[in-house]
């Protein structure tokens, strides 16, 4: 089954790319954009039919490789 994971920067961690995107959006006329935070999205196909087991595996992957917990949070969606 496929498990989807979103990795984002933790609150308070500077996101220079998000900031540049926000400023560009503002300059394009999207004046009501206050902040943009950029992240990563993974679709992982796991050989597993049990959803909860697949999610446990995905969580292990997040902790060990997909996210760096110093600056990033992950969410399995």
């Amino acid at each position: 089954m496929k498990v989807k994971v979103i990795v984002t920067l933790k609150n308070g961690v500077l996101d220079p790319q998000g900031k540049a995107i926000q400023q560009t959006l503002n300059s394009m006329g999207f004046l009501n954009v206050n902040e943009v935070r950029q992240g990563k999205y993974f679709v992982i196909d796991i050989k597993e039919n049990d959803e909860s087991k697949a999610k446990i595996k995905a969580e292990d992957m997040c902790k060990k490789l997909l996210a760096n917990l110093v600056i990033e949070d992950y969410k399995i969606v």
Binding site: L14, A20, V70, I71
Partner: protein
């Protein structure tokens, strides 16, 4: 003294490091990342470059490569491990050093000479070094050192901050910080002071024709401290 330079796919400062180590008297050997063990060494170097194309996060894939287990064991048994640039990024991803190197604050790849202040001379890398301010070369896109407040306090309390960006005269104000690194951090050591990660490249400053020789000081000093 024997040294080993680990080569990952995408490393590109491995040969420069080889030349530098040999110039100052190390018997150096090059080790491919797919090896499982490292021949007896007094120093292991993780060189600069773009291991695995910087995929996912800089250094993250290399930090899971086959050879890394041996590097971690060597470091944990007190062996000297030096990570330069991408090597520093790999060391933070393995957990041997705290924190992470984020993208430069101003989003540009930076390449040029900088000055760094030696903040701690109790480690084998900088003990007895003749200068307090070194001119070294940097070339990176992700050199913006970051760690949690708690971790920073530990680094400061244990004098683990090895080198910081500064002006020629040692001024550490913001204008001399090229990448936004926390507290101008250019390099740190681990708690046991045997693992050093730093963004500047001493191996690029080992000849008067290479815009400076402060890298020579670094290698001569390191070898002297190992003898």
């Amino acid at each position: 003294m024997k040294s080993s330079v680990i080569i990952f796919p995408g490393s590109n400062c491995d040969r420069d490091m080889d030349v530098a180590l040999k110039k100052f008297g190390f018997k150096n050997q090059m080790i491919w990342h797919n090896e499982e063990s490292i021949p007896k060494s007094d120093l292991i170097v993780l060189p600069g470059g773009f291991s695995y194309g910087d995929y996912l996060r800089c250094g993250s894939i290399a930090s899971k490569s086959k050879i890394i287990k041996s590097v971690i064991e060597f470091a944990n048994s007190g062996g000297l491990v030096l990570g330069i640039c991408n090597g520093f990024q790999i060391l933070t991803e393995t957990g041997l050093l705290p924190g992470i190197l984020q993208q430069n604050k101003y989003l540009n790849f930076i390449c040029g000479n900088v000055f760094v202040k030696v903040k701690d001379k109790t480690n084998k890398y900088f003990k007895n070094i003749k200068k307090d301010i070194l001119e070294l070369h940097i070339a990176h896109n992700e050199g913006n050192y970051f760690c949690s407040e708690e971790e920073l306090k530990l680094l400061e309390d244990n004098n683990q901050i090895a080198v910081t960006y500064c002006s020629k005269k040692g001024d550490e104000s913001l204008e001399h910080n090229p990448n936004g690194a926390l507290k101008n951090i250019a390099g740190i050591v681990n708690k046991n002071r045997n693992v050093l990660g730093m963004m500047p490249h001493p191996e690029r400053m080992i000849d008067k024709y290479l815009s400076g020789e402060d890298g020579s000081l670094f290698f001569e000093n390191l070898l002297g401290n190992l003898k």
